[in-house]
Subunit: 316 residues, 2 copies
């Protein structure tokens, strides 16, 4: 670590569910309002001189695009899942950029922003492709699920709510467009990239091709952050800390910890949607990142400084 | 002009209709095949050492997204037209990047590619907003059009095919993200940007906000090209030359010409869809560009060199 550097390179991962309105409202105005709240702390960090990259989830938004695909397939050729991910990179990226431009002006910063369409390499032999397990999109009745299964999709019985599509969620290996982001960071831009975990691609002859999958955005953030040489990864979600025994009488916030200890704790509690966040934070630090912090959207600056949230470092 | 420079900065505008299959096939495989053909000449120019920026149309693709919006509005909140434009920047950009990466490897180039989400500023008082005139999307029966008109949209009777939506197509004033593209060009990237004419935004307080409109991609290319200091603008479409009396017995290809002469000729023939291309070429040269060329996708390298197509320069 270069101790002479006063400013950090910080990658902030904004949760997809945190970027829609209360009760899952994914209307345009609800998304814009949620994003405006999320970027306030980001602008503070930029104004303090840090290099900042933003990435974001896209679960609810991709779910909507799949539903549109399905409901209009009789009139418009459906697009594959990799195209849906690409679509959300542009709409969420554009929404973040507009909000961030405003937030930066308010804190007196003249830093410029950019959104980069980003591809993430996955292994075509990843077990995710043979056993799809990531639920996505709306619930449908069994009869409808049967029709879509006949088209080659995988759907699962999710109980009283109905059937839901499950897709491959392979491990991210490399972020193809990290060099683009590095170049822009070096020139002073605040960059939005690798949205939704990146557009999944696999090697194909002398190039790459998109594949039907979604990649966990926090696991991609761990890979992406190290590719960029980021010092700090902040995973911003809807809780202040990772909680031990969440919801129970003896629940307890995890504060300073190490990758090894956090993994042990995560194996003890039922990590659920926190699982990939815990694993991403641990991988980032294991791979040489100085600090990974899991916290809520409202505490991004303190988390980046390591003074709030579940703070993962190489030494406790 | 700097005569000591051996290589040019070239902006190539790929037509939206040229990037789908025969008979308007906008399936994913048809789009991929059309794009692979389009990038062959682009890779040659890059291998020869030129700095290349690509922009592209998106008419058929945006039409499909609007149809999806409409057919699924009962289940999924529709997204505005600026979001649809953003969506096509990512899907077409990603498709071009994958094809271009392959084409570059084939010609032995190791240049990297990037796709930038791009916003274009328009005037909120542009007459396009009070008198929408750009037809877009599918034809519907009158009864359906009446329902959509009741929601605030503008639809026009287009004769036997039915009614079609018309939207604002304001003049492009400035490309907000041109600085991002310049930075990447300077670092050696081949960049895809300002797709579909750019996401239309208007000034709003201390920032920008998206507006429901589509911008002509060739008119944006003229503004964008000059903002980047491009030497050459190539407008690649489905004809080799702009034709005088197109389709008539005395039809004649326009070869070398000037902005003033091209505008006079365009006023004489019925320019139709060629109108904005003619105007974009003339504006680029009037604003100081060395050369603007209108030709077909298959002749991009010769067009860039000024040896084929309708070649517009300051002197005939």
């Amino acid at each position: 670590m270069d101790e002479s550097r006063k400013h950090d390179r910080i990658l902030i991962a904004l949760g997809g569910n945190a970027m829609i309105g209360p009760d899952g409202d994914a209307s345009v105005t609800a998304q814009q309002a949620a994003v405006a709240r999320a970027v306030t702390g980001v602008a503070e960090l930029v104004a303090a001189g840090h290099e900042v990259v933003l990435t974001h989830g896209n679960g609810p938004q991709v779910g909507n695009l799949l539903t549109k695909n399905e409901l209009s397939a009789h009139e418009v050729p459906p697009v594959p899942l990799d195209w849906c991910v690409a679509q959300t990179q542009a709409t969420i990226g554009f929404t973040i950029q507009n909000a961030l431009d405003r937030a930066l002006r308010r804190v007196g910063s003249n830093r410029r922003t950019a959104t980069v369409v980003t591809r993430t390499v996955v292994d075509p032999d990843d077990p995710g492709f043979t056993k799809p397990s990531k639920p996505i999109g709306r619930h449908v009745p069994r009869e409808r699920a049967d029709q879509l299964i006949a088209l080659g999709q995988t759907w699962q019985d999710r109980g009283p709510k109905g059937w839901r599509r499950v897709v491959a969620s392979p491990q991210p290996l490399d972020v193809l467009d990290a060099g683009t982001v590095s170049t822009l960071l070096g020139a002073g831009f605040v960059v939005v990239a690798a949205g939704g975990g990146g557009i999944p691609v696999v090697p194909d002859g002398d190039g790459w091709r998109g594949v039907e999958a979604v990649i966990d955005k926090d696991l991609t953030a761990a890979v992406f952050g190290r590719a960029l040489g980021a010092d700090v990864l902040v995973i911003a979600t809807d809780v202040d800390h990772v909680m031990l025994h969440f919801g129970a009488a003896d629940q307890e916030a995890i504060e300073a910890t190490t990758p090894a200890r956090l993994r042990v704790l995560a194996a003890e509690f039922s990590a659920g949607s926190m699982g990939p966040k815990v694993e991403a934070a641990a991988r980032f630090v294991d791979a040489g990142g100085r600090r990974a912090v899991i916290t809520s959207l409202d505490h991004i600056p303190a988390a980046a400084a390591g003074t709030f949230g579940t703070v993962v470092t190489g030494q406790a």
